[in-house]
Amino acid sequence: MKILVPVDGSEHSLHAVRHALVLHDSLKAVPELVLLNVQRSVAQGNVKLLIDAQTIDDYQREQGMAALETARHVLDQRGIAYQYHLSVGHPAEAIAQYAAKHGVSHIVIGAHGEGGLGKRLLGSIVAQVLETTALPVTVVR
């Protein structure tokens, strides 16, 4: 069983990681854990026109690794095996795409990512994930 945990660095995404740990400990066959962070592309319009690809990638990789840091720390402390992955694109789309490509069987996701104004304006990623994937999804509060 492969469990995908989308992580954006928020408190709720850490709850999701901890819940994935609970699953890891209680399932009969030890599941694979994958942390996934999705960065929204900044390579649009003038940014893409002016800045070289390497610099954009470095920047987004840095942001993505920073977003994964606390979640990885939680898993590192337990010393269990896991994978992580960084994608650039629309979060829900990237989550669904990774899940389909890599044989994910279950998604564990935090209830709220981007909070406040961002969330109100952008809508919930969770709702979009539920729409785009047919996999079982556990929403953790």
Partner: protein
């Protein structure tokens, strides 16, 4: 000036300017931040400050330059065509998922500032033209447009980019607005004056047709290059059990 504030036309124009500024300067801040990425911590703030300052200065200069130029015959025609193209370009999706620009993050303060100024020049042009088209000969609107764009260069986060991502309709509205404004600029062209004065109905038909033209062309071109992969992989890593060592730091 005070009476002007009470006319609805003034507020409509203000709305147009804010919309154009939002759509055309959202990426300015991102470019500045990226160009300063490799500077040492202490210099990064300075680089961003100089970059934003340069962007504002350039914009003021270019705006007055543009207004002066637009008073010459034929140039409103050229300006209107450029605006139509800017509107279409706004609607078009990116060619490929990868960047193609050539600016690298500089490790030296002055190198970074230099790149930012060059980038600012390119980024200000479309914006300046849009604002000048809305403001026409109204200096107050022009100054207002400049003032509004300043905080957007300095502080605009990725929120605009995210909003566009979530509500693509914003892009179409923006494209239509730029087309409309281009149409208004066309009407101001001295060459067409006799024609416009003879047929008053042109006052709304031309902007409307230009707005539709941008929408139609944009959609048509967008449909032709659809189906580009929008999700890209950036890094992969694997951490083995029990090991605190991290492998595969990409």
């Amino acid at each position: 000036m005070l009476e002007m504030l009470q006319t609805p036309q003034f507020w409509v124009d203000v709305f147009k300017i804010i919309m154009i500024d939002l759509l055309l300067s959202g990426d300015n801040a991102v470019v500045i931040a990226l160009a300063c990425r490799n500077l040492p911590e202490a210099q990064r703030k300075k680089g961003i400050l100089y970059g934003v300052g340069g962007a504002i200065g350039l914009r003021i200069l270019l705006t007055f330059f543009a207004v002066g130029l637009l008073a010459l015959p034929y140039l409103k025609l050229v300006g209107a065509l450029l605006l139509l193209w800017i509107g279409i370009k706004l609607i078009l999706p990116e060619d490929e998922a990868h960047g193609e620009g050539s600016i690298k993050a500089e490790a030296h303060l002055w190198g970074a500032v230099k790149t930012i100024i060059v980038a600012d020049f390119v980024m200000s042009l479309d914006n300046v033209l849009g604002v000048a088209a809305v403001a026409k000969d109204n200096v107050w609107l022009l100054v207002f447009g400049l003032l509004v764009s300043i905080p957007m260069i300095a502080w605009s986060s990725q929120l605009v980019l995210k909003l566009i991502d979530r509500y693509p309709v914003i892009i179409y509205a923006g494209g239509a607005l730029l087309g409309y404004v281009a149409g208004e600029m066309l009407l101001g062209e001295a060459l067409l004056k006799p024609l416009v004065e003879a047929h008053h109905v042109l006052h709304w038909i031309v902007p409307a047709v230009c707005a539709l033209l941008v929408l139609g062309t944009g959609r048509w071109l967008a449909a032709r290059k659809a189906a580009v992969a929008t999700v890209r992989d950036l890094a992969d890593g694997e951490v083995p059990a029990r090991g605190m060592t991290r492998k595969g730091e990409a």
